[in-house]
Protein backbone atom coordinates (compact mmCIF):
# COMPACT_ATOMS: atom_id res chain seq x y z
CA UNK A 1 0.00 0.00 0.00
CA UNK A 2 1.33 3.40 -0.86
CA UNK A 3 1.00 6.31 1.44
CA UNK A 4 -0.63 9.23 -0.37
CA UNK A 5 1.03 11.72 1.97
CA UNK A 6 4.54 10.55 1.33
CA UNK A 7 5.61 12.68 -1.64
CA UNK A 8 4.18 15.82 -0.03
CA UNK A 9 6.05 15.02 3.16
CA UNK A 10 9.33 14.51 1.40
CA UNK A 11 8.94 17.70 -0.57
CA UNK A 12 8.21 19.58 2.61
CA UNK A 13 11.20 18.10 4.37
CA UNK A 14 13.57 18.82 1.50
CA UNK A 15 12.21 22.36 1.38
CA UNK A 16 12.91 22.78 5.07
CA UNK A 17 16.42 21.41 4.64
CA UNK A 18 17.14 23.76 1.77
CA UNK A 19 15.55 26.74 3.49
CA UNK A 20 18.37 26.91 5.99
CA UNK A 21 21.89 26.24 4.72
CA UNK A 22 22.85 25.17 8.25
CA UNK A 23 20.50 22.18 8.02
CA UNK A 24 22.13 21.06 4.80
CA UNK A 25 25.64 21.41 6.25
CA UNK A 26 24.57 19.45 9.31
CA UNK A 27 23.09 16.69 7.21
CA UNK A 28 26.13 16.35 4.96
CA UNK A 29 28.47 16.29 7.96
CA UNK A 30 26.33 13.69 9.66
CA UNK A 31 26.42 11.46 6.57
CA UNK A 32 30.17 11.90 6.33
CA UNK A 33 30.73 10.88 9.95
CA UNK A 34 28.36 7.95 9.68
CA UNK A 35 30.30 6.79 6.62
CA UNK A 36 33.58 6.97 8.53
CA UNK A 37 32.07 5.05 11.41
CA UNK A 38 30.98 2.29 9.05
CA UNK A 39 34.05 2.18 6.81
CA UNK A 40 36.63 3.44 9.34
CA UNK A 41 38.95 0.45 9.47
CA UNK A 42 38.78 -0.03 5.70
CA UNK A 43 39.78 3.60 5.08
CA UNK A 44 42.65 3.62 7.56
CA UNK A 45 46.02 3.58 5.77
CA UNK A 46 47.83 1.87 8.66
CA UNK A 47 46.99 -0.55 11.42
CA UNK A 48 45.84 1.63 14.35
CA UNK A 49 47.76 -0.42 16.90
CA UNK A 50 51.09 -0.97 15.13
CA UNK A 51 53.83 0.98 16.83
CA UNK A 52 56.88 2.22 14.95
CA UNK A 53 59.85 3.28 17.03
CA UNK A 54 61.44 4.88 13.96
CA UNK A 55 58.56 7.32 13.53
CA UNK A 56 57.82 8.75 16.97
CA UNK A 57 55.95 12.08 17.31
CA UNK A 58 56.31 13.04 13.68
CA UNK A 59 54.41 16.10 12.52
CA UNK A 60 51.83 15.69 9.76
CA UNK A 61 53.42 14.67 6.45
CA UNK A 62 52.51 12.95 3.18
CA UNK A 63 53.11 9.53 4.75
CA UNK A 64 51.22 10.34 7.95
CA UNK A 65 48.58 12.98 7.19
CA UNK A 66 47.77 13.55 10.86
CA UNK A 67 51.30 12.78 12.11
CA UNK A 68 52.27 10.03 14.54
CA UNK A 69 51.98 9.70 18.31
CA UNK A 70 54.48 8.93 21.07
CA UNK A 71 54.60 5.26 20.01
CA UNK A 72 54.84 5.99 16.30
CA UNK A 73 51.23 4.98 15.61
CA UNK A 74 49.48 6.68 12.69
CA UNK A 75 47.04 9.24 14.10
CA UNK A 76 44.87 9.38 10.96
CA UNK A 77 44.23 5.64 11.16
CA UNK A 78 43.52 5.78 14.87
CA UNK A 79 41.15 8.72 14.46
CA UNK A 80 39.23 6.96 11.67
CA UNK A 81 38.96 3.64 13.48
CA UNK A 82 37.86 5.34 16.72
CA UNK A 83 34.74 6.80 15.09
CA UNK A 84 32.79 3.56 15.31
CA UNK A 85 33.42 3.02 19.03
CA UNK A 86 32.65 6.62 19.98
CA UNK A 87 29.43 6.62 17.98
CA UNK A 88 28.35 3.21 19.23
CA UNK A 89 28.70 4.29 22.85
CA UNK A 90 26.73 7.48 22.31
CA UNK A 91 23.98 5.91 20.20
CA UNK A 92 23.43 2.95 22.51
CA UNK A 93 23.40 5.15 25.61
CA UNK A 94 20.90 7.59 24.11
CA UNK A 95 18.81 4.74 22.67
CA UNK A 96 18.68 3.03 26.03
CA UNK A 97 17.84 6.08 28.08
CA UNK A 98 15.27 7.46 25.62
CA UNK A 99 13.35 4.19 25.40
CA UNK A 100 13.48 3.35 29.11
CA UNK A 101 12.99 6.97 30.16
CA UNK A 102 9.99 7.61 27.94
CA UNK A 103 8.26 4.41 28.97
CA UNK A 104 8.78 5.19 32.68
CA UNK A 105 7.77 8.81 32.19
CA UNK A 106 4.71 7.90 30.12
CA UNK A 107 3.52 5.30 32.61
CA UNK A 108 3.85 7.52 35.67
CA UNK A 109 2.35 10.48 33.81
CA UNK A 110 -0.57 8.32 32.76
CA UNK A 111 -1.17 6.60 36.09
CA UNK A 112 -0.33 9.43 38.47
CA UNK A 113 -0.64 8.64 42.17
CA UNK A 114 2.02 7.22 44.46
CA UNK A 115 4.47 5.96 41.86
CA UNK A 116 4.33 9.26 40.05
CA UNK A 117 5.27 11.16 43.20
CA UNK A 118 7.90 8.61 44.17
CA UNK A 119 9.59 8.52 40.77
CA UNK A 120 9.44 12.29 40.39
CA UNK A 121 11.26 12.69 43.72
CA UNK A 122 13.98 10.28 42.57
CA UNK A 123 14.29 12.30 39.37
CA UNK A 124 14.65 15.49 41.44
CA UNK A 125 17.41 13.87 43.46
CA UNK A 126 19.24 12.69 40.35
CA UNK A 127 19.02 16.16 38.82
CA UNK A 128 20.56 17.73 41.93
CA UNK A 129 23.74 15.72 41.34
CA UNK A 130 26.67 16.94 39.34
CA UNK A 131 25.81 14.51 36.55
CA UNK A 132 29.24 14.10 35.01
CA UNK A 133 30.81 13.23 38.35
CA UNK A 134 27.93 10.86 39.03
CA UNK A 135 28.76 9.08 35.77
CA UNK A 136 32.42 8.99 36.79
CA UNK A 137 31.57 7.43 40.13
CA UNK A 138 29.20 4.95 38.52
CA UNK A 139 31.79 3.72 36.05
CA UNK A 140 34.26 3.39 38.92
CA UNK A 141 31.65 1.51 40.95
CA UNK A 142 30.32 -0.79 38.22
CA UNK A 143 33.74 -1.56 36.78
CA UNK A 144 35.94 0.11 34.28
CA UNK A 145 34.45 -1.18 30.99
CA UNK A 146 32.90 0.23 27.85
CA UNK A 147 29.47 -1.22 28.54
CA UNK A 148 29.45 0.48 31.93
CA UNK A 149 30.18 3.81 30.24
CA UNK A 150 27.04 3.17 28.18
CA UNK A 151 24.99 2.39 31.30
CA UNK A 152 26.34 5.37 33.24
CA UNK A 153 25.67 7.75 30.35
CA UNK A 154 22.19 6.29 29.95
CA UNK A 155 21.38 6.67 33.65
CA UNK A 156 22.42 10.31 33.91
CA UNK A 157 20.24 11.08 30.88
CA UNK A 158 17.19 9.23 32.17
CA UNK A 159 15.74 12.08 34.27
CA UNK A 160 15.38 14.32 31.22
CA UNK A 161 13.39 11.72 29.28
CA UNK A 162 11.27 10.79 32.26
CA UNK A 163 10.32 14.42 32.84
CA UNK A 164 9.65 15.09 29.18
CA UNK A 165 7.53 11.96 28.57
CA UNK A 166 5.65 12.49 31.83
CA UNK A 167 4.64 16.04 31.03
CA UNK A 168 3.78 15.23 27.41
CA UNK A 169 1.54 12.36 28.46
CA UNK A 170 -0.11 14.36 31.24
CA UNK A 171 -1.15 16.98 28.71
CA UNK A 172 -2.69 14.36 26.45
CA UNK A 173 -4.13 12.04 29.08
CA UNK A 174 -7.70 13.28 28.66
CA UNK A 175 -7.53 14.51 25.11
CA UNK A 176 -10.23 13.58 22.58
CA UNK A 177 -8.52 10.68 20.83
CA UNK A 178 -7.77 9.03 24.15
CA UNK A 179 -11.38 9.21 25.14
CA UNK A 180 -12.38 7.88 21.74
CA UNK A 181 -10.00 4.95 22.20
CA UNK A 182 -11.47 4.24 25.62
CA UNK A 183 -15.01 4.31 24.25
CA UNK A 184 -13.80 1.90 21.60
CA UNK A 185 -12.90 -0.49 24.39
CA UNK A 186 -9.12 -0.03 24.69
CA UNK A 187 -7.56 -0.82 28.04
CA UNK A 188 -4.93 1.28 29.81
CA UNK A 189 -1.99 -0.52 28.21
CA UNK A 190 -3.41 -0.19 24.74
CA UNK A 191 -4.22 3.49 25.17
CA UNK A 192 -0.74 4.14 26.49
CA UNK A 193 1.33 2.18 24.01
CA UNK A 194 -0.85 2.31 20.93
CA UNK A 195 -2.12 5.89 21.15
CA UNK A 196 -0.14 8.01 23.58
CA UNK A 197 3.45 6.90 23.04
CA UNK A 198 3.40 7.38 19.23
CA UNK A 199 2.01 10.85 19.78
CA UNK A 200 4.78 11.93 22.10
CA UNK A 201 7.44 10.48 19.80
CA UNK A 202 8.49 13.71 18.17
CA UNK A 203 9.54 15.65 21.28
CA UNK A 204 11.38 12.52 22.43
CA UNK A 205 13.17 12.18 19.09
CA UNK A 206 14.16 15.84 19.21
CA UNK A 207 15.47 15.46 22.74
CA UNK A 208 17.38 12.32 21.72
CA UNK A 209 19.04 13.96 18.75
CA UNK A 210 20.14 16.93 20.84
CA UNK A 211 21.24 14.50 23.52
CA UNK A 212 23.42 12.50 21.15
CA UNK A 213 26.15 15.11 20.90
CA UNK A 214 26.13 15.49 24.65
CA UNK A 215 26.52 11.73 25.06
CA UNK A 216 29.56 11.74 22.78
CA UNK A 217 31.14 14.49 24.90
CA UNK A 218 30.30 12.64 28.07
CA UNK A 219 31.83 9.35 26.96
CA UNK A 220 34.93 11.06 25.59
CA UNK A 221 35.25 13.02 28.83
CA UNK A 222 35.16 9.82 30.85
CA UNK A 223 37.86 8.17 28.79
CA UNK A 224 39.88 11.41 28.82
CA UNK A 225 39.99 10.99 32.60
CA UNK A 226 41.02 7.35 32.20
CA UNK A 227 37.67 5.65 32.82
CA UNK A 228 35.89 3.32 30.46
CA UNK A 229 37.80 2.61 27.29
CA UNK A 230 41.37 1.54 27.92
CA UNK A 231 44.54 2.07 25.90
CA UNK A 232 45.70 1.02 23.39
CA UNK A 233 42.12 0.96 22.00
CA UNK A 234 41.79 3.88 19.59
CA UNK A 235 39.20 6.22 21.10
CA UNK A 236 39.07 10.00 20.74
CA UNK A 237 38.99 10.87 24.44
CA UNK A 238 42.00 8.69 25.24
CA UNK A 239 43.87 10.02 22.23
CA UNK A 240 43.33 13.61 23.39
CA UNK A 241 44.47 12.61 26.89
CA UNK A 242 47.66 11.08 25.45
CA UNK A 243 48.22 14.17 23.34
CA UNK A 244 47.67 16.50 26.31
CA UNK A 245 51.15 15.62 27.58
CA UNK A 246 52.72 16.99 24.39
CA UNK A 247 50.71 20.20 24.04
CA UNK A 248 53.01 22.33 26.16
CA UNK A 249 56.03 21.11 24.22
CA UNK A 250 54.47 21.93 20.87
CA UNK A 251 53.41 18.55 19.45
CA UNK A 252 49.88 19.78 18.86
CA UNK A 253 48.79 17.16 16.33
CA UNK A 254 48.58 14.27 18.80
CA UNK A 255 45.68 15.88 20.65
CA UNK A 256 44.34 18.19 17.94
CA UNK A 257 43.12 15.68 15.35
CA UNK A 258 41.10 13.42 17.63
CA UNK A 259 39.85 16.59 19.34
CA UNK A 260 38.80 17.96 15.96
CA UNK A 261 37.03 14.68 15.15
CA UNK A 262 35.10 14.96 18.41
CA UNK A 263 34.15 18.53 17.65
CA UNK A 264 33.00 17.70 14.14
CA UNK A 265 30.91 14.78 15.34
CA UNK A 266 29.20 16.67 18.15
CA UNK A 267 28.72 19.66 15.87
CA UNK A 268 26.99 17.57 13.23
CA UNK A 269 24.76 15.94 15.87
CA UNK A 270 23.81 19.32 17.27
CA UNK A 271 23.04 20.70 13.82
CA UNK A 272 20.98 17.62 13.07
CA UNK A 273 19.11 18.06 16.33
CA UNK A 274 18.30 21.65 15.40
CA UNK A 275 17.13 20.63 11.93
CA UNK A 276 14.95 17.87 13.35
CA UNK A 277 13.41 20.35 15.71
CA UNK A 278 12.64 22.60 12.75
CA UNK A 279 11.07 19.73 10.84
CA UNK A 280 9.17 17.87 13.51
CA UNK A 281 8.02 20.65 15.75
CA UNK A 282 6.76 23.70 13.89
CA UNK A 283 5.77 25.31 17.20
CA UNK A 284 9.39 25.61 18.26
CA UNK A 285 10.49 27.09 14.97
CA UNK A 286 11.79 30.58 15.53
Amino acid sequence: MTNPHKPGHLAQISQLILANPMNLIGLILFGFILMIAVLGSALAPYDPLTTDSAAILQSPSAAHWFGTDQLGRDILSRTLVAARLDLMIAISAVGLSSVVGSVIGAVIGFKGGFWDGFTSRIVDVLMAFPLFVLALAMVAALGNTVINVVYATAIINLPFYIRLARSEVMVRRNIGYVEAARVGGSGDARVLFRFLLPNIASPIVIQASVNLGWAVLNAAGLSFLGLGVRPPTPEWGIMVAEGARFIASGEWWVAAFPGFALMLTVFSFNMLGDSLRDMLDPRMRT
Binding site: P130, A137, A140, G221
Partner: protein, 335 residues
Protein backbone atom coordinates in the same frame (compact mmCIF):
# COMPACT_ATOMS: atom_id res chain seq x y z
CA UNK B 1 10.05 35.73 52.96
CA UNK B 2 7.64 32.89 53.80
CA UNK B 3 8.00 31.67 50.29
CA UNK B 4 11.78 31.48 50.52
CA UNK B 5 11.51 29.59 53.78
CA UNK B 6 9.07 27.14 52.22
CA UNK B 7 11.39 26.65 49.28
CA UNK B 8 14.26 25.87 51.62
CA UNK B 9 12.11 23.36 53.52
CA UNK B 10 10.99 21.68 50.30
CA UNK B 11 14.64 21.10 49.43
CA UNK B 12 15.14 18.88 52.48
CA UNK B 13 13.77 15.65 50.96
CA UNK B 14 15.95 16.19 47.89
CA UNK B 15 18.98 16.79 50.07
CA UNK B 16 18.20 13.64 52.05
CA UNK B 17 17.89 11.70 48.80
CA UNK B 18 21.26 13.00 47.72
CA UNK B 19 22.83 11.91 51.02
CA UNK B 20 21.30 8.45 50.69
CA UNK B 21 22.28 7.95 47.05
CA UNK B 22 25.87 9.14 47.59
CA UNK B 23 26.17 6.90 50.60
CA UNK B 24 24.93 3.84 48.70
CA UNK B 25 27.00 4.67 45.66
CA UNK B 26 30.23 4.99 47.58
CA UNK B 27 29.48 1.72 49.36
CA UNK B 28 29.22 -0.20 46.09
CA UNK B 29 32.49 1.25 44.81
CA UNK B 30 34.83 -1.68 44.34
CA UNK B 31 37.65 -2.70 46.61
CA UNK B 32 37.86 -2.92 50.36
CA UNK B 33 39.41 0.38 51.36
CA UNK B 34 40.87 -1.16 54.49
CA UNK B 35 42.80 -3.70 52.43
CA UNK B 36 43.69 -0.99 49.98
CA UNK B 37 45.20 1.26 52.61
CA UNK B 38 46.85 -1.59 54.38
CA UNK B 39 49.03 -1.90 51.29
CA UNK B 40 51.95 -2.32 53.62
CA UNK B 41 52.72 -6.07 53.28
CA UNK B 42 53.83 -6.37 56.90
CA UNK B 43 50.26 -5.71 58.01
CA UNK B 44 48.53 -8.86 59.17
CA UNK B 45 44.90 -9.92 58.98
CA UNK B 46 44.08 -8.67 62.47
CA UNK B 47 45.60 -5.27 61.74
CA UNK B 48 43.39 -5.01 58.65
CA UNK B 49 40.42 -5.99 60.76
CA UNK B 50 41.37 -3.29 63.27
CA UNK B 51 41.56 -0.74 60.46
CA UNK B 52 38.16 -1.83 59.17
CA UNK B 53 36.77 -1.37 62.63
CA UNK B 54 38.38 2.05 62.95
CA UNK B 55 36.84 3.06 59.62
CA UNK B 56 33.47 1.64 60.63
CA UNK B 57 33.23 -0.86 57.76
CA UNK B 58 32.55 -3.81 60.05
CA UNK B 59 29.04 -2.57 60.84
CA UNK B 60 25.89 -3.20 58.81
CA UNK B 61 24.89 -0.75 56.06
CA UNK B 62 21.95 0.86 57.91
CA UNK B 63 24.20 1.28 60.96
CA UNK B 64 26.90 2.87 58.84
CA UNK B 65 24.33 5.19 57.31
CA UNK B 66 23.02 6.15 60.74
CA UNK B 67 26.53 6.98 61.94
CA UNK B 68 27.12 8.95 58.75
CA UNK B 69 23.95 10.99 59.30
CA UNK B 70 24.86 11.77 62.91
CA UNK B 71 28.34 12.87 61.82
CA UNK B 72 26.83 15.03 59.10
CA UNK B 73 24.56 16.72 61.59
CA UNK B 74 27.70 17.69 63.51
CA UNK B 75 29.25 19.11 60.36
CA UNK B 76 31.65 16.18 60.17
CA UNK B 77 32.04 15.04 56.59
CA UNK B 78 34.50 12.33 57.50
CA UNK B 79 38.19 12.07 56.89
CA UNK B 80 40.05 11.41 53.67
CA UNK B 81 41.99 8.20 54.02
CA UNK B 82 44.68 9.20 51.53
CA UNK B 83 45.54 12.60 52.98
CA UNK B 84 44.32 12.00 56.54
CA UNK B 85 42.69 15.43 56.54
CA UNK B 86 39.06 16.09 57.49
CA UNK B 87 36.98 16.40 54.33
CA UNK B 88 35.22 19.54 55.54
CA UNK B 89 38.59 21.27 55.91
CA UNK B 90 39.66 20.13 52.45
CA UNK B 91 36.44 21.42 50.91
CA UNK B 92 36.76 24.78 52.63
CA UNK B 93 40.30 25.01 51.29
CA UNK B 94 39.43 23.99 47.73
CA UNK B 95 35.94 25.35 47.12
CA UNK B 96 37.05 28.99 46.69
CA UNK B 97 39.37 27.94 43.84
CA UNK B 98 36.46 26.36 41.95
CA UNK B 99 34.02 29.12 42.79
CA UNK B 100 36.41 31.88 41.73
CA UNK B 101 37.01 30.17 38.40
CA UNK B 102 33.36 29.40 37.74
CA UNK B 103 32.24 32.93 38.62
CA UNK B 104 34.76 34.50 36.26
CA UNK B 105 33.74 32.05 33.52
CA UNK B 106 30.10 32.80 34.18
CA UNK B 107 30.65 36.56 33.97
CA UNK B 108 32.58 36.14 30.72
CA UNK B 109 29.85 33.93 29.26
CA UNK B 110 27.06 36.34 30.18
CA UNK B 111 29.06 39.30 28.90
CA UNK B 112 29.26 37.71 25.47
CA UNK B 113 26.05 35.70 25.30
CA UNK B 114 23.52 38.39 26.17
CA UNK B 115 24.67 41.04 23.67
CA UNK B 116 25.04 38.31 21.05
CA UNK B 117 21.59 36.88 21.71
CA UNK B 118 20.06 40.36 21.74
CA UNK B 119 21.67 41.28 18.44
CA UNK B 120 20.50 38.03 16.90
CA UNK B 121 16.94 38.52 18.12
CA UNK B 122 16.73 42.09 16.86
CA UNK B 123 17.74 41.03 13.35
CA UNK B 124 16.46 37.48 12.88
CA UNK B 125 17.75 35.82 9.73
CA UNK B 126 20.58 38.32 9.36
CA UNK B 127 24.28 37.58 9.21
CA UNK B 128 24.69 38.26 12.92
CA UNK B 129 21.86 35.84 13.69
CA UNK B 130 23.54 33.05 11.74
CA UNK B 131 26.91 33.91 13.25
CA UNK B 132 25.44 33.75 16.75
CA UNK B 133 23.94 30.36 16.01
CA UNK B 134 27.20 29.10 14.53
CA UNK B 135 29.31 30.35 17.44
CA UNK B 136 27.03 28.91 20.08
CA UNK B 137 26.64 25.56 18.31
CA UNK B 138 30.41 25.33 17.83
CA UNK B 139 31.04 26.32 21.44
CA UNK B 140 28.90 23.54 22.80
CA UNK B 141 30.40 21.06 20.31
CA UNK B 142 34.02 21.31 21.37
CA UNK B 143 34.78 19.26 24.47
CA UNK B 144 36.11 21.51 27.23
CA UNK B 145 39.29 19.46 27.49
CA UNK B 146 40.00 20.10 23.82
CA UNK B 147 39.25 23.84 24.04
CA UNK B 148 41.53 24.05 27.08
CA UNK B 149 44.42 22.29 25.34
CA UNK B 150 43.95 24.43 22.24
CA UNK B 151 44.06 27.62 24.29
CA UNK B 152 47.18 26.39 26.10
CA UNK B 153 48.85 25.64 22.79
CA UNK B 154 48.05 29.02 21.28
CA UNK B 155 48.43 31.36 24.25
CA UNK B 156 51.10 29.60 26.27
CA UNK B 157 53.24 27.70 23.76
CA UNK B 158 52.86 29.79 20.57
CA UNK B 159 52.29 33.35 21.76
CA UNK B 160 53.76 33.03 25.24
CA UNK B 161 51.31 35.58 26.66
CA UNK B 162 49.80 33.25 29.24
CA UNK B 163 51.54 31.97 32.36
CA UNK B 164 52.30 28.28 32.67
CA UNK B 165 48.91 26.55 32.87
CA UNK B 166 49.46 24.87 36.23
CA UNK B 167 47.50 25.80 39.31
CA UNK B 168 46.24 29.11 40.62
CA UNK B 169 49.40 31.11 41.08
CA UNK B 170 53.00 31.11 39.92
CA UNK B 171 54.91 29.08 42.56
CA UNK B 172 57.46 31.93 42.93
CA UNK B 173 54.80 34.36 44.07
CA UNK B 174 53.49 34.40 47.62
CA UNK B 175 49.80 33.88 48.18
CA UNK B 176 48.09 36.84 49.83
CA UNK B 177 46.80 36.45 53.38
CA UNK B 178 43.78 34.23 53.26
CA UNK B 179 40.56 36.06 53.94
CA UNK B 180 38.01 34.76 51.46
CA UNK B 181 40.14 32.13 49.75
CA UNK B 182 39.46 33.83 46.43
CA UNK B 183 42.96 34.82 45.34
CA UNK B 184 41.97 37.88 43.33
CA UNK B 185 39.81 39.25 46.15
CA UNK B 186 42.42 38.50 48.79
CA UNK B 187 45.11 40.19 46.69
CA UNK B 188 42.98 43.30 46.35
CA UNK B 189 42.28 43.30 50.08
CA UNK B 190 46.01 43.12 50.70
CA UNK B 191 46.48 45.91 48.15
CA UNK B 192 48.84 43.75 46.11
CA UNK B 193 48.09 44.44 42.46
CA UNK B 194 50.89 42.29 41.13
CA UNK B 195 49.42 39.19 42.73
CA UNK B 196 45.97 40.23 41.58
CA UNK B 197 47.16 40.44 38.00
CA UNK B 198 49.05 37.15 38.24
CA UNK B 199 46.07 35.31 39.71
CA UNK B 200 43.75 36.77 37.10
CA UNK B 201 46.13 35.82 34.28
CA UNK B 202 46.25 32.27 35.63
CA UNK B 203 42.45 32.09 35.61
CA UNK B 204 41.89 33.56 32.18
CA UNK B 205 42.46 30.44 30.05
CA UNK B 206 40.47 27.96 32.16
CA UNK B 207 37.68 30.51 32.63
CA UNK B 208 37.51 31.16 28.88
CA UNK B 209 37.39 27.41 28.29
CA UNK B 210 34.38 27.08 30.54
CA UNK B 211 32.74 30.23 29.22
CA UNK B 212 32.87 29.02 25.60
CA UNK B 213 30.93 25.94 26.57
CA UNK B 214 28.35 27.95 28.51
CA UNK B 215 27.72 30.41 25.65
CA UNK B 216 25.27 28.23 23.78
CA UNK B 217 22.39 27.87 26.24
CA UNK B 218 22.63 31.53 27.28
CA UNK B 219 22.76 32.91 23.73
CA UNK B 220 19.92 30.72 22.56
CA UNK B 221 17.67 31.50 25.44
CA UNK B 222 18.35 35.24 25.13
CA UNK B 223 17.54 35.12 21.44
CA UNK B 224 14.40 33.03 21.75
CA UNK B 225 13.02 34.90 24.72
CA UNK B 226 13.81 38.30 23.22
CA UNK B 227 12.20 37.30 19.91
CA UNK B 228 9.08 36.33 21.80
CA UNK B 229 9.01 39.60 23.73
CA UNK B 230 9.62 41.73 20.63
CA UNK B 231 6.70 40.07 18.89
CA UNK B 232 4.23 40.75 21.68
CA UNK B 233 1.44 43.28 21.67
CA UNK B 234 2.77 45.63 24.32
CA UNK B 235 5.83 46.21 22.15
CA UNK B 236 3.58 47.01 19.21
CA UNK B 237 1.73 49.46 21.41
CA UNK B 238 5.00 51.00 22.62
CA UNK B 239 6.13 51.35 19.02
CA UNK B 240 2.84 52.90 17.98
CA UNK B 241 3.14 55.38 20.84
CA UNK B 242 6.39 56.52 19.33
CA UNK B 243 8.76 55.46 22.12
CA UNK B 244 12.47 55.44 21.32
CA UNK B 245 14.08 52.23 20.12
CA UNK B 246 16.41 51.99 23.09
CA UNK B 247 13.59 52.38 25.56
CA UNK B 248 11.48 49.79 23.75
CA UNK B 249 14.28 47.26 23.59
CA UNK B 250 15.75 47.57 27.06
CA UNK B 251 13.01 48.88 29.32
CA UNK B 252 10.10 47.03 27.80
CA UNK B 253 11.21 43.99 25.83
CA UNK B 254 14.40 42.94 27.63
CA UNK B 255 12.95 43.21 31.09
CA UNK B 256 10.08 40.98 30.04
CA UNK B 257 12.40 38.58 28.27
CA UNK B 258 14.60 38.30 31.34
CA UNK B 259 12.74 35.56 33.24
CA UNK B 260 13.69 32.52 31.14
CA UNK B 261 17.19 34.00 30.75
CA UNK B 262 17.63 34.08 34.53
CA UNK B 263 16.41 30.51 34.83
CA UNK B 264 18.90 29.42 32.18
CA UNK B 265 21.65 31.34 33.98
CA UNK B 266 20.97 29.42 37.17
CA UNK B 267 21.02 26.08 35.39
CA UNK B 268 24.18 26.97 33.51
CA UNK B 269 25.99 28.04 36.67
CA UNK B 270 25.22 24.84 38.59
CA UNK B 271 26.15 22.81 35.57
CA UNK B 272 29.44 24.67 35.22
CA UNK B 273 30.43 24.10 38.83
CA UNK B 274 29.76 20.39 38.52
CA UNK B 275 31.29 19.87 35.12
CA UNK B 276 34.58 21.62 35.69
CA UNK B 277 36.25 18.35 36.67
CA UNK B 278 37.66 18.19 33.15
CA UNK B 279 38.83 21.80 33.07
CA UNK B 280 40.45 21.43 36.47
CA UNK B 281 42.28 18.34 35.23
CA UNK B 282 43.59 20.10 32.11
CA UNK B 283 44.81 23.15 34.03
CA UNK B 284 45.93 21.30 37.20
CA UNK B 285 43.52 23.53 39.09
CA UNK B 286 43.37 22.66 42.80
CA UNK B 287 39.57 22.90 43.02
CA UNK B 288 36.97 20.53 44.37
CA UNK B 289 36.45 18.89 40.98
CA UNK B 290 40.03 17.69 41.14
CA UNK B 291 39.37 16.51 44.69
CA UNK B 292 36.37 14.43 43.53
CA UNK B 293 38.47 12.97 40.72
CA UNK B 294 41.32 11.97 43.05
CA UNK B 295 38.81 10.55 45.45
CA UNK B 296 37.28 8.31 42.77
CA UNK B 297 40.66 7.16 41.53
CA UNK B 298 41.93 6.39 45.05
CA UNK B 299 38.73 4.65 46.23
CA UNK B 300 38.63 7.25 48.97
CA UNK B 301 34.92 7.58 49.74
CA UNK B 302 34.64 10.49 52.12
CA UNK B 303 35.82 13.34 49.84
CA UNK B 304 33.56 12.09 47.02
CA UNK B 305 30.57 12.11 49.36
CA UNK B 306 31.53 15.58 50.54
CA UNK B 307 31.81 16.80 46.96
CA UNK B 308 28.40 15.43 45.98
CA UNK B 309 26.78 16.98 49.03
CA UNK B 310 28.35 20.38 48.49
CA UNK B 311 27.33 20.31 44.83
CA UNK B 312 23.75 19.35 45.64
CA UNK B 313 23.69 22.08 48.28
CA UNK B 314 24.94 24.64 45.78
CA UNK B 315 22.43 23.39 43.23
CA UNK B 316 19.59 23.98 45.69
CA UNK B 317 20.94 27.40 46.70
CA UNK B 318 21.32 28.48 43.08
CA UNK B 319 17.75 27.40 42.37
CA UNK B 320 16.65 29.46 45.32
CA UNK B 321 18.68 32.47 44.18
CA UNK B 322 17.14 32.10 40.72
CA UNK B 323 13.72 32.14 42.29
CA UNK B 324 14.46 35.23 44.33
CA UNK B 325 15.94 37.01 41.31
CA UNK B 326 12.87 36.20 39.26
CA UNK B 327 10.59 37.59 41.95
CA UNK B 328 12.64 40.79 42.01
CA UNK B 329 12.50 41.20 38.24
CA UNK B 330 8.86 40.26 37.90
CA UNK B 331 6.73 40.67 41.03
CA UNK B 332 3.92 38.78 39.30
CA UNK B 333 5.99 35.61 39.64
CA UNK B 334 5.77 35.85 43.44
CA UNK B 335 2.22 34.57 43.47
Amino acid sequence: MMRILLRLLSAIPTLFGVVLVTFLLTRVLPGDPAVFFAANPSMGADEIAALREALGFDKSLPEQFGIYLIDLAHGDLGRSVTTGLPVAEEIVRRLPASVELSVLAFVLAIGIAIPLGLAAALRPGSLIDHTARLISTLGVSVPTFVTGLLLIYVFYFRLGVSPEPIGRLDPFLFEPDRVTGLLTVDALLAGDFEIFRAALAQMLLPATTMAIFALAPLTRMTRASMLGAMGSEFIRTARASGLGRGKIIFTYAFRNALLPIITTMGMTFSYMLGANVLVERVFSWPGIGAMAMDSIMNLDYAPLQGFMLVMAGIFILVNLATDVAITLVDPRAAK
